[in-house]
């Protein structure tokens, strides 16, 4: 390729972006790392470089690991439920034999919760799950005077709170994932299905041998982006518990823990270290997942 005589204009075009990119992306990313190597405390002047001490301190702290486990306990059931529901619905809505009507309407309705501000959803959940006036208890146990005795204090139980957050996450994301799966299924050449019908394959066989393998790239995308998002979950647990982390710290996720360290206790150094630990762990598990499903190898 000959040199582009207008090539230098390319630099002018991308210059504003890279100025902002340097200031608002690269600098904060590097600055967070540098901060993580210091004992910077927002309430005090001066700071000293202390090497990897913040990292060592976090890795050996019970609070960090508890928040790490909480994040997984919320994410894992959510991704399993979400993938299952989304896959089932996507296959059903694109099924050529059942030909369901109103696909567009269902798709839009399932997707809608994904667009609503998480802060609003958190407060809505807070109101619906309220112990005394919440709609959930009223529906499950009724509203007769005696029924109130058995009302459940959902947001006061370490197990129930995490189940609730996992279910809300699923509720918010299954429609989004379903749309991606539907697009993936529609991209599969129809001739493959037709050929297998001629060969007398059952619907389940077609699903297992054609749909599922060809959906792998979409599956990878969904799981990886959900992993990154899920490990960084903050809004919902933070607002539901008003920043306290909830009963027995059961909703103290990694980012809730990070935010409290950095901006409530002003330990900017250890907060920054937590964010880099989170990056390393997320990257590690993403790589593990890709290896597990054999991505990148030559496959059909």
């Amino acid at each position: 390729m000959a040199a582009d005589p207008y090539g230098r204009y390319g630099y002018y075009f991308i210059l504003p972006f890279f100025l902002a990119f340097g200031v608002f992306w690269l600098y904060p990313i590097i600055s967070t790392f540098v901060t993580s190597l210091t004992n910077e405390d927002f309430t005090q002047f001066g700071r000293d470089f202390i090497g990897l001490q913040n990292y060592a301190q976090e890795i050996t702290s019970a609070g960090f690991w508890r928040s790490f486990m909480n994040t997984w306990i919320i994410w894992l059931p959510n991704i399993i439920l979400q993938l299952g529901t989304a896959l089932f619905l996507a296959v059903m809505l694109t099924n050529v034999q059942l030909r369901p009507k109103g696909v567009g309407v269902f798709r839009a309705i399932f997707f809608f919760p994904n667009l609503v501000t998480v802060a609003s959803i958190a407060i809505l959940a807070y109101a619906v799950l309220d112990w005394q006036s919440g709609v959930l208890n009223q529906i499950v146990f009724g509203t007769e005077p005696g029924a109130r005795e058995s009302y459940v204090f959902w947001l006061n139980s370490p197990i129930a709170t995490r189940v609730v957050v996992a279910l809300i996450q699923t509720w918010m994301w299954f429609g989004y994932t379903m749309i991606l799966f539907m697009a993936g299924i529609q991209a599969i050449p129809q001739s493959l299905f037709e050929a297998s019908i001629v060969d007398g394959a059952s619907s389940f066989r077609m699903f297992r041998s054609i749909t599922l393998p060809l959906l792998k790239p979409v599956m990878v995308y969904v799981v990886i982006t959900s992993l990154i998002g899920g490990m960084n979950i903050f809004d919902l647990p933070w607002i539901l518990t008003r920043g306290t982390g909830g009963p027995n710290q059961s909703l103290s996720t990694v980012v809730v823990y990070l935010y409290n360290r950095a901006f409530r206790f002003y330990q900017l150094g250890s907060g920054a270290a937590v964010s880099y630990l989170l990056l390393v762990f997320t990257g590690f598990f993403a790589a593990l997942y890709l290896r597990f499903i054999g991505f990148g190898k030559e496959d059909a």
Binding site: M1, G7, A20, I29, F111, F112, I123, S133, L180
Partner: protein, 287 residues
């Protein structure tokens, strides 16, 4: 034939049930926004009440103290609305124009280092946003933008995901021969972009802008970190205060507050759902 009919019916039952679960909470929210706390306490219903006005007053000006007759602890939802609108609109306009310029630069010119620079843009897309939180906080304090709306708006000039999307898009909609013809006629490079390429890229820019706007409108963590005065709070930061002590027991006002933040999204969704649904599959499915 009968078997298929039964399968279809079962499928519709499942679909309608899930659809109900998806939207029922929002219906409960709308109905309860019009009912008083006492009514809400008595149990759910599908029929709206007549306490909308009372809830509105309680929400905005706070609950009335029965002894003194004074109200305190209100939340200024309209101001939060205006703040969110200012931030989200400005950020969207900046992201749209500068991303289009950048994407065009990457798509239409060949220059040394192009691949490497674009790789840098791609690399940060996959990074979790928390990785820069502490650095961003320190930066904004350092340059005096802490607790200003600009701190939320200016970073939108560099929107890596939008650039990534629009570069692909520019390649497919801007015809090189058109560019050459314009050069023959003596048009400058920026003139060509502004007059010819940018209008051609507009459909893609519009789709991306819907997503940018939504992301900004819903953003919580960054404003929480960078703002600290009530007058500048965006809507999510005000909504979040609805579960603090003042409102804790006034469920009518609480539901109304949530409804005020959700209804605009319902209205926008009614018009834009088509673009949203087709826009989200972009990153995951290659044709």
């Amino acid at each position: 034939m009968l078997k298929r009919r039964i399968q279809q019916i079962v499928l519709y039952v499942i679909l309608v049930t899930i659809a109900f679960v998806s939207i029922a909470p929002f219906y409960v929210m709308l109905v309860n926004a019009t009912r008083s706390s006492q009514e809400i306490n008595r149990g759910p219903t599908v029929i709206p009440g007549d306490s909308l006005e009372e809830n509105w007053t309680n929400l905005l000006y706070g609950k009335r103290d029965p002894d003194t007759g004074l109200r305190s602890g209100g939340i200024n939802i309209p101001r939060g609305f205006v703040n969110s609108l200012i931030v989200a609109l400005s950020a969207t306009v900046l992201a749209a124009y500068f991303s289009a310029v950048t994407a065009y630069g990457f798509a239409m010119y060949r220059f040394p280092g192009r691949g490497l620079l674009f790789a840098a843009v791609l690399a940060v897309i996959m990074l979790p946003p928390t990785i820069m939180l502490v650095g961003l906080f320190k930066l904004m304090i350092g340059i005096g933008l802490y607790n200003t709306r600009l701190a939320l708006i200016l970073p939108a000039i560099a929107s890596p995901y939008v650039v990534f999307f629009l570069r692909q898009y520019a390649k497919s909609v801007v015809n090189r021969s058109l560019l050459e013809a314009a050069r023959m006629d003596g048009a400058g490079e920026f003139q060509i972009f502004n007059r010819i390429a940018f209008p051609l890229m507009m459909p893609g820019v519009a789709t991306m802008s819907i997503f940018t706007f939504l992301a900004q409108w819903n953003n919580y963590l960054v404003p929480l970190t960078l703002l600290n005065s009530q007058e500048k709070y965006t809507l999510p930061l005000l909504i979040q205060q609805l579960n603090t002590t003042t409102y804790q027991r006034d469920f009518g006002a609480m539901y109304l507050g949530i409804a005020l933040s959700v209804v605009p999204i319902i209205i926008a969704f009614a018009f834009l759902s088509r673009y949203l649904v087709s826009g989200i599959s972009f990153g995951a499915v290659k044709e």
